[in-house]
């Protein structure tokens, strides 16, 4: 009886010891070696925007729907002409909204008067590749009848090359972090076991206004600043420990 009482804790202790040894060897999945250094390196690309996207809309309203639409058409034609004169290629312009909305009129008691106001909106989205022309384009469009401007968004048409360069520097960053950790821990850095990007395809995460554009284009221009777009890339690398 005494012996049994002793044997049970002994067995448990042995099992725990065996399990912990086992965890050391098999805590990783089957495909990975047991000892790893895992680091995430960061690389950034700073790019000057080479295009800007802006929405130019014409809103008209009135008690006569046909008049509100034809007035809208007339002004939208002029805005379109202004966009063309700014050197924007035909394939860089798209109608993104055309809407008609009826607003009933109410008296002071909240009752319908029978009258109505019609709202008409025609909005174009423009991709401008000559950034110097943004200020003048906004000014001209507004003077020709645009009265709804949204979303001046600067961007880079093809950041692939710069992003790949950022990936390489993220790898370098990862390697130097791993080398430092290996040295600090008194082990030798082994071969690369895995490389992966944790996130999805990156977009510019920060816009830092850097220089002004448009102010110098004459007085009939809206001042605008494209700034610099910064893209961040993260690469996670696992190294073997030797």
């Amino acid at each position: 009886m005494k012996g049994v009482r002793l044997a049970v804790p002994l067995a448990l202790a042995a099992a725990a010891l065996a399990l912990s040894a086992c965890a050391g060897a098999a805590g990783w999945s089957q495909e990975s070696p047991p000892r790893l250094i895992s680091v995430t390196g960061t690389g950034t690309a700073r790019l000057d925007p080479d295009m800007v996207i802006v929405s130019l809309g014409v809103q008209t309203q009135g008690p006569d729907i046909a008049e509100a639409v034809s007035e809208n058409n007339r002004r939208s034609d002029q805005v379109r002409a202004a966009i063309r004169e700014a050197g924007v290629a035909d394939e860089d312009v798209q109608t993104v909204n055309f809407s008609v909305w009826t607003q009933q009129q109410y008296d002071e008691f909240g009752n319908l008067t029978g009258g109505a106001t019609y709202w008409v909106d025609n909005t174009l989205q423009v991709r401008l590749r000559d950034l110097d022309r943004l200020g003048p384009l906004l000014e001209t469009a507004l003077s020709r009848g645009a009265n709804s401007v949204q979303g001046v968004t600067f961007s880079v048409e093809d950041p692939t090359e710069a992003l790949d360069a950022a990936r390489v520097s993220a790898l370098e960053d990862a390697r130097s972090q791993a080398a430092q950790m290996a040295a600090d821990a008194g082990v030798l850095l082994g071969e690369v076991v895995s490389i992966g990007e944790p996130g999805a395809y990156p977009g510019p995460f920060m816009e830092a206004p850097a220089r002004g554009i448009g102010g110098g284009s004459g007085q009939d221009a809206v001042p605008t600043s494209p700034g610099v777009l910064e893209y961040g890339i993260q690469v996670t690398v696992n190294y073997a420990i030797r």
Binding site: A7, S76, Q94, F109
Partner: protein, 234 residues
């Protein structure tokens, strides 16, 4: 005595050790995971727009009849511009009742009725959109929304974008493997991370303007495919 009592101990240890061996028995694979993207611009061949008629009045029968007349005229106008019946769908019809109030906030007993009939039209000749909008307004449409350019059958563009995405992933994998001082091995797995679009993008200019209708620019549509690829490292 001692051996007998230690038997459970040995059993437990050997059991754990064998389980342990089963887990750690595999070989390690060194791997590289990348994402690739491909996009293809397509000129839209359809445009979808909602054309609605709203009528209001104290007499429900009259409000409905007026609405029916105008809604029929809008459908006829769309038909005249070549829209097939199967490309016109009633997406909204409602009648609602609004009580009238006096200056003290009390219900007067009079009622206003609201009637709305909206059809969603798929126009396959996008150059006629300006004319369609103009004709719809002339016919009595007073609630228009959702001019949305799209591609009827994007499968060909998707195939092209997928091929581009696979190639993009392979190039990125080679670049990263080289930068890491390794050699790219065989493809272990590849999967599509979803197809986005067709989404309205930038586009061609000025169709429909010549017809005297609403000025319209149809633009192009972007089809984007993303793939995730895992390559072995050597």
């Amino acid at each position: 005595m001692t051996f007998k009592r230690l038997l459970p101990l040995f059993l437990v240890v050997s059991l754990v050790a064998s389980a342990c061996g089963a887990v750690s028995g595999g070989t390690a694979t060194r791997a590289l995971t990348v994402m690739g993207t491909g996009s293809v611009s397509v000129t839209p061949d359809i445009v979808i727009v909602s054309l609605g008629v709203q009528t209001v009045g104290p007499d429900i029968a009259r409000a409905v009849a007026q609405n029916n007349d105008a809604a029929s005229a809008v459908q006829a106008a769309a038909g005249e511009l070549g829209v097939a019946p199967e490309d016109m769908r009633t997406t909204y019809f409602y009648v609602s009742t609004q009580q009238q109030y006096d200056e003290f906030g009390n219900v007067t007993g009079e009622v206003t009725y609201w009637v709305d009939n909206t059809i969603t039209v798929t126009l396959r000749d996008t150059s006629k959109l300006g004319d369609l909008l103009e004709a719809a307004v002339d016919a009595g449409a007073n609630s228009i929304s959702g001019v949305s350019f799209s591609v009827d059958d994007p499968s060909e563009a998707e195939d092209e974008a997928r091929q581009e995405a696979v190639e993009d992933a392979r190039q990125r994998a080679e670049m990263l493997a080289t930068a890491a001082g390794a050699t790219l091995g065989e493809l272990v797995s590849i999967s599509t991370g979803g197809v986005s679009g067709p989404i309205p993008y930038y586009g061609e200019f000025g169709l429909g303007g010549g017809g005297g209708g609403v000025p319209i620019s149809p633009g192009t549509t972007e089809v984007t495919v993303q793939v995730t690829a895992v390559y072995a490292l050597r």
